[in-house]
């Protein structure tokens, strides 16, 4: 797969044209103080490549937990009659076993699982696991920097994330259960201990965990932004950045602007919970008593939450945009189609993402006039999104496409993004949302567009950059099995949910028995559950492949196995601290000079290759 790629000796070019920052001279004097022992190398590492691996493996740990949780509640939905007594050794009292030995999942824990599945997947896996991994890995490598602007803050960013995870993990074992009021944690349900058993200690831990998580995101985000803005190497102007870097940069900017708002929302919630304020509470009678709170509004929380919450979905999916753009371009041996349009659409999406939050609240009791403004901006977002889809497809057109796990997941991402994006047009239109809001249609929509699609982006990135991370390849056959099972399986899981939603079936129902209207789809729910089990098993193939390949995978023998133009493939096969052994590279061209010269032996020109006389670059031919 790699032998055919004609290698270009970039080391010489870097030595000749690169910039000498005397980085390694310091090293000789005081050794490598950053990586001198086990702890500083593997645990409290300040090397962006190691931190990236830490984010990735922590993310995988959470993905397995979050995914396994979904299997348990899918069992309840698909096979409510089947006994779950065999889960009692793990779940204990949350499985209620009757005299006949039939074990049932308790509704409390069902809602805890749903809530934790959402929280974990959205924040720990798709935000930290995706953006944390690839921003860390690729930003310094692709902008030609030795490391992040502040390696120390970068290390803190991971450890705050780790701490957030520890707190969340503890909350799973609290005797009253983890928080069980949905990942959006709307008050008063989340504010009042009396409202649900998870709203006590469970919710306190949830808030502490996410507060730590916000700190992690901010530390990481500041670093990503300053690195991209300030530490680009000579010649690498903004219009020569790979789309990955554009995506990570804008993701970090969005995160920096929106997560503090979430944090303030949480702060007010903490005040309401613990100090008797009434920001979100008014006129409540619960647990046999009338509370003193008056004058607050639960809708205020929803505004604060979704002011983060909507940008959050772009925080999740933008890195996938960037990764897929890069992967598709490299493996189809073509420049990404419409580079500038791609950048502008990322910027437009990022800008608009701050003006659409209330489309989650059309039916929450907001003024219908306000809703109109949000309908307009929401549907406008479809335009830059459509441009991106067309550009990805146009990138494939006329290409010379190599099919491997990375490019397959890239193509799969585009399919998922189309399917999930189009259903957003239904939901963004408030008139249709009257019926669709909080039904399975919404579940199908966001799982496909920001769940599965973002996962596909992540997988494309992992298969593509695994050799850069571990100097070995992942197994291709297993990768392809992983891809095809996941592609088909994910559609089997989520496509039928559209029909459930159109039929009016509400989400977050423990059982449909009470309603004739919703109780018509037993077979469909069984199919979905079986498919979920299979897809989860397929992810285990990936996990095994991943860890096996770290130590036993096929070795990477050349520097640039994919024949990519970007700077990360000019570094040594075995990663070193500081990324380049000598000078740092100087960039002479944009990163999409693929198949540019029909007469050349190679079909790519790395960014470090100087322009030939009369040669144009940056998209010009």
């Amino acid at each position: 797969m790699s032998t055919e790629i004609q290698q270009i000796n970039t080391d010489e070019l870097i030595e000749k044209y690169g910039h000498d920052d005397h980085f390694h001279e310091l090293e000789h004097e005081e050794h490598d103080k950053y990586q001198s022992n086990f702890i500083s190398h593997y645990i409290f590492s300040m090397d962006h490549k190691m931190i990236s691996k830490q984010f990735l493996i922590t993310g995988m740990f959470w993905a397995i937990i979050g995914g396994a949780m979904s299997l348990i509640f899918r069992m309840q939905l698909g096979f409510p009659e089947e006994s779950l007594a065999w889960l009692q050794p793990i779940l204990g009292k949350w499985i209620v076993v009757n005299e006949a030995g039939i074990g049932t999942l308790s509704p409390d824990f069902y809602y805890a699982l749903v809530t934790m599945h959402g929280t974990i997947l959205v924040f720990f896996v798709l935000t930290a696991g995706l953006s944390g991994t690839f921003s860390n890995l690729l930003i310094p490598l692709q902008v030609g920097a030795r490391d992040m602007a502040s390696p120390f803050m970068n290390m803190l960013s991971y450890w705050f994330f780790f701490l957030a995870g520890v707190v969340m993990f503890f909350s799973l074992f609290v005797s009253t259960g983890p928080f069980m009021g949905g990942w959006v944690a709307y008050p008063p349900l989340s504010a009042l201990e009396q409202a649900s058993s998870g709203s006590g200690v469970g919710m306190t831990l949830w808030l502490v965990s996410l507060a730590l998580f916000v700190v992690s995101i901010l530390l990481g985000g500041i670093n990503y932004i300053s690195t991209v803005i300030n530490m680009r190497t000579k010649g690498l102007n903004m219009w020569r950045l790979p789309l990955t870097i554009w995506a990570f940069l804008i993701t970090a900017v969005i995160g920096l602007l929106s997560f503090p708002v979430l944090f303030s929302g949480f702060l007010l919630l903490i005040f309401d919970r613990s100090f008797g304020t009434s920001f979100y509470l008014s006129e409540i009678f619960i647990g046999g008593e009338a509370l003193d709170h008056v004058g607050g509004s639960p809708i205020l929380y929803q505004h604060l939450f979704w002011f983060l919450g909507h940008p959050e979905v772009y925080i999740i999916v933008l890195p996938a945009f960037g990764i897929v753009s890069e992967v598709l371009s490299v493996h189809s041996r073509k420049p990404i189609f419409g580079y500038k349009a791609m950048v502008f659409s990322i910027l437009a999406i990022a800008f608009l993402s701050f003006l659409v939050w209330a489309h989650h609240m059309f039916m929450a009791g907001i003024n219908p006039f306000i809703a109109m403004i949000f309908v307009i901006f929401t549907l406008i977002i479809a335009v830059p999104s459509a441009v991106k889809v067309f550009n990805w497809i146009a990138t494939l057109y006329g290409g010379n496409i190599r099919f491997n796990s990375a490019s397959l997941f890239g193509i799969g991402f585009v399919s998922m993004f189309i399917s999930g994006g189009l259903t957003g047009i239904f939901l963004g239109n408030s008139a249709i949302d009257i019926q669709m809001h909080d039904t399975y249609f919404v579940v199908a929509h966001f799982h496909i567009v920001m769940g599965v699609a973002a996962f596909f982006g992540m997988y494309a990135g992992i298969y593509h950059w695994f050799p850069k991370m571990y100097s070995r390849f992942m197994n291709e056959t297993l990768g392809k099995i992983h891809f095809w099972v996941t592609l088909v399986g994910a559609y089997v899981i989520f496509w039928p949910m559209h029909y459930l939603g159109i039929a009016g079936v509400p989400r977050r129902y423990y059982s449909f028995d009470n309603f004739d209207t919703f109780n018509e789809f037993a077979t469909m729910n069984q199919v979905i559950t079986v498919a979920a089990l299979i897809v989860f098993a397929a992810q285990l193939i990936f996990v095994v492949n991943f860890f096996y390949s770290i130590w036993k995978g096929r070795e990477m023998k050349v520097q640039n196995p994919w024949g990519a133009t970007t700077l990360e493939w000019t570094t040594p096969i075995k990663n070193i601290h500081g990324n380049w052994p000598g000078k740092i590279p100087t960039v002479h061209r944009w990163c999409y000079d693929y198949s540019k010269d029909e007469d050349s032996d190679t079909d790519y020109v790395p960014q470090v290759v100087p322009l030939a006389e009369g040669e144009k670059t940056d998209g010009a031919h």
Partner: protein, 478 residues
Amino acid sequence: MVILLSVLILALLVIVIVQIGKVTELAAAIRGEEDAQRESDYWNSRLGVAFMVLFLAATIISAIYYKNWMLGFGPHEAASEHGISVDSMFAITLFFTGIVFVITHIALFWFAYKYRYNPNRKAIFNAHDNRLEIIWTIVPAIVMAVLVIYGLDAWNKVMSDVGPDEDFIELEATGMQFSWLLRYPGEDGELGARDYRKIDGTNPLGQVWEETANLDDFHPSDIVLPVDNKVRVRITARDVLHNFYLPHFRVKMDAVPGMPTYFVFTPTKTTEQYREELKKYPEYRVPEDPDDPDGPEKWETFDYELACAELCGNGHFSMKKTVRIVTEEEYQEWLKEQKSYYLSNIRNSENDPFAGELLSFEVETGINTFTTTYELLSSMDDEALKDLPADDLTESILLDRFFLPEKDELGEVSLGALDQVVEYLNEMPQLRVRLEPESDNQELNYNRMLSVENYLSSRGIKKERIVRPDVEEVDAEI
């Protein structure tokens, strides 16, 4: 044991996966990586096309299979006026997105297949094409504009509140963990004020009983509404967020504690009509209970349902109420059966601020038939009245309604009602009033009769126009 088994199975799985990995790696090495990559390109590009064809076919076939469940298709047309516009917005959006979905998927997988790797060819270098990009920016923009315009037009119509002079039925739904509390305004057409601090076991909504608008409000167990009447639902919550969701009517609105919301809709199909619609579809002509083939069929047991659509705690999935849409006559019939919550649960209990007092509407029940008869007679002309027998010109008032239990003095409220009777008698000289006692206590009856008679006389009504029932016996006894 279970855990041990699971661990073993997992370990086996890992070994299998690792072995597959090793074998394929070896095979590729033997055959040469180049060849392996060519073969991978060959198969995966074809698999992509096969996937695309099967996927598109599956989406279309499944959509047709579930057609009868979709908004606006099959029997599931909206049962409300505004619901039609929701359904048609859905259909319009489905049309546009359907086209894009099919075209982009064909292009995506077909290009991937067509331009799979060929060592003898180089990819074309087309970095951008301004004309193409302008087209595929503008076309989606136009489509979105169309959808926005249609959508907002529908939205504005759906969400507009009732006008000031409009006739509508008001209804209040209050969500609590885990049920809905319903309230209708009663005869005065007005929902009385509430104070959440007054909520207790006997006053689930915290109604302020001092306020008379509350006294006739009633709390039915299900929603009953007449067809083709505008309904305004006042939606609120007692504890946490809930959502008032009527799937068949395309009605959905959050119930927010401390901030009442509303939804206005007009049901257009009675429950019976909807059942008749369902009957046309074979999937509804099967027994409701599969174990009881002779039992009622699905369409016969159909009912509109009210559900909660905002997570509200561990009983969220069980907040059901039945909704019955009936004809106007059935509705009026039903209304008559409803009894004010105040009268049936609060009146003269310790929570009743009016305990020991008569309330005007209670007193009015004593003269209701009298008023009706007067209204009937006054619509006839004098000639017709002349021909009527004396009996038909006499109507009763119910004596006991004017007095507190065991009392025979007339209070202010009762005098007001009797003044009304005097007014009628003055208006129509032919009319006579009969005093109808209801108590078993003859002495009390007699004293009450005297009180009323004296009052009427004092207002200038002649004795012969006041008919005493069975008075002679009472007289004799005394």
